[in-house]
Symmetry: C2
Subunit: 342 residues, 2 copies
């Protein structure tokens, strides 16, 4: 069905090579010939076959970005920044949405490797636990390295011996500092709403929270931990579970801002005042966290900078040795959703 370069050549009365030259304008071609070729292209609605081209020229100008959830600004911010850098080098960045599925993630990585992408940027934490996944993932990273595709992770723990370049977030320390701050204000009964069990980000942040509790000699109470997902709804659900009872906590620490947002919304629905009756804090400092009411106390991760950095490494503007680990610092951001307990 498809019209090929040969068809165009025939129609223009020239050789395929000439058509190719016109199309790539990387070689002198007589103006009149060029003219005829372009007309033929137009008349036939010809579109080069990218696969054939990539195969023949063994070139590739695409760069992949893998995200868990495009609708979550946490990922959107990083992805957008990577894309912006990529476009500076005329690379085309394609974003792949796994919707949180490990299988989809692997499928997309495979796709990108098959397409010989220049680089693959993986955003978000890894999945601990699932052995098959971890093994396959590591194998893919090795293959990528062998095939010359650079792998850059953003927010995933560095794997010893892996050729991937890791931009890591100090989730544990950030969470520790956050809870320490909550404790410093006098809170003792502090709940925690965590993300998916399998997520390394969840695990690290929860660990940081526990570190802070231990330092303050506050016993860790499992009954005050709610497990869920990383989205707003999880926060709303958790609010109901934590606030609709007599022995409610004076503060709730959320594993991310989206959950915190849900907590605030849930509290409002239940008629519980934030921060007067319960404090809520988040993590990530997504743009909306300044617009919630009350505005959110949280831990800032410079996501746009992370994306920009990953992009620059991917396009070779910043040279980093394979296997390097770049630690991204997070920072406490104090706003209005946290106050001393009454």
């Amino acid at each position: 069905v498809s019209v090929t370069l040969a068809d165009v050549a025939e129609r223009a009365g020239v050789s395929p090579a000439t058509v190719s030259r016109v199309l790539n304008s990387n070689y002198p071609v007589a103006a009149s010939t060029r003219e005829r070729v372009l007309r033929a292209v137009d008349e036939l609605d010809y579109v080069v076959n990218g696969h054939a081209r990539a195969l023949a020229a063994s070139s590739s100008d695409v760069l992949g970005i893998v995200v868990n959830d495009v609708a979550d600004p946490f990922f959107g911010l990083m992805a957008g920044a990577v894309q912006a850098e990529a476009s500076k080098e005329d690379l085309l960045a394609v974003i792949c949405n796994t919707a949180g599925s490990p299988d989809e993630e692997l499928r997309y990585i495979r796709l990108l490797l098959r397409q010989r992408a220049k680089a693959v940027v993986l955003t978000g934490g890894s999945r601990s636990g699932e052995a098959a996944y971890v093994e396959e993932f590591d194998a893919l990273v090795r293959q990528a390295d062998a095939a010359g595709t650079q792998v850059i992770t953003c927010g995933r723990p560095a794997v010893a011996g892996s050729p991937a370049i890791a931009l890591t977030f100090d989730n544990r320390r950030g969470a520790e500092g956050l809870t320490r701050h909550v404790v410093a204000l006098g809170h003792r009964r502090i709940a925690y709403v965590t993300g998916p069990r399998a997520s390394s980000t969840s695990a690290d942040r929860l660990q940081g929270h526990r570190d802070a509790l231990r330092q303050a000699k506050i016993p860790f109470d499992k009954g005050l931990v709610v497990h869920g997902t990383f989205d707003r709804e999880a926060g709303v659900d958790a609010a109901v579970r934590l606030l609709d009872r007599l022995d409610r906590p004076t503060a709730i620490v959320a594993a991310n801002d989206l959950i915190a947002l849900g907590l605030i919304a849930g509290a409002r629905e239940l008629g519980v005042k934030v921060p007067a009756e319960v404090s809520v804090v988040g993590f990530d400092d997504l743009p909306f966290s300044v617009d919630t009411f009350p505005s959110l106390t949280t831990v800032r991760i410079p996501l746009v900078e992370v994306g920009r950095r990953a992009g620059r490494i991917a396009i070779g503007h910043e040279r980093v040795a394979p296997g390097s680990v770049v630690r991204i610092r997070s920072e406490l951001v104090v706003r209005d959703s946290l106050a001393a307990p009454r």
Copy 2:
């Protein structure tokens, strides 16, 4: 540098054809042979060349989604929904971020056509005005049709005679209803903060606003219109311009929720109470609009359903004739950011 199928064949002591058969498991192969081949694949870290495969098999399992801004949930919601549908058919959806640049948009569409994507889903309004862009865009849609790539637009005005399938938003009617509602509450001095001039979405919504003013016999005052972009910052800027003066409007209509969010934030900074001193309304009903303070009165566009619909059409689960137009209805959502003027 790259290891090829032939390398694997040699290592396994079989022919390339056999390796191919093992890899695609679409043909009987002796278990022992298969075993050897797989080991060779593993040892060599072999990754099939997707371009060669696509060329030889003339197959393609990718679907493209073009968005203006990944970090904007307006696009993220649609893109995520399209992706979710695509994955049901084992298609891989790649999202391309144009960052609002017409050139990038065209580049990505070209990329997708070259890659012989199954379908291309274009989200967001079109750019009116720029003739060269419009012409090139229409040419690409024609080429896509010729090459068998289905084009589906979401929120872009339908083009007569175009083979693209258009899911259109009733921006004009939605905006008209919104402003009519504002007027009904008694507002007469109503400002409008619009998006990019070249955007069809901007133009349509502003037109709807003017329609409503005309019906109410309220003269249109250019001094009350602020031009900007579709993001939060534009709203903050507009707030300063509109509220920091004596003859300030009693209500401000924003071209989208992000702008409205900025307006509310700006008003708060200026110490102007919403809705007591100024009402603010938005458009789109993004998820956060229920979490702002006060919550946002807006017009709902069912973005997730739109994306799902586009996805279903793209994967052939829903049959729609080329050139069809599907009108998506919008709906007024009344919340707290709008009140009668004092």
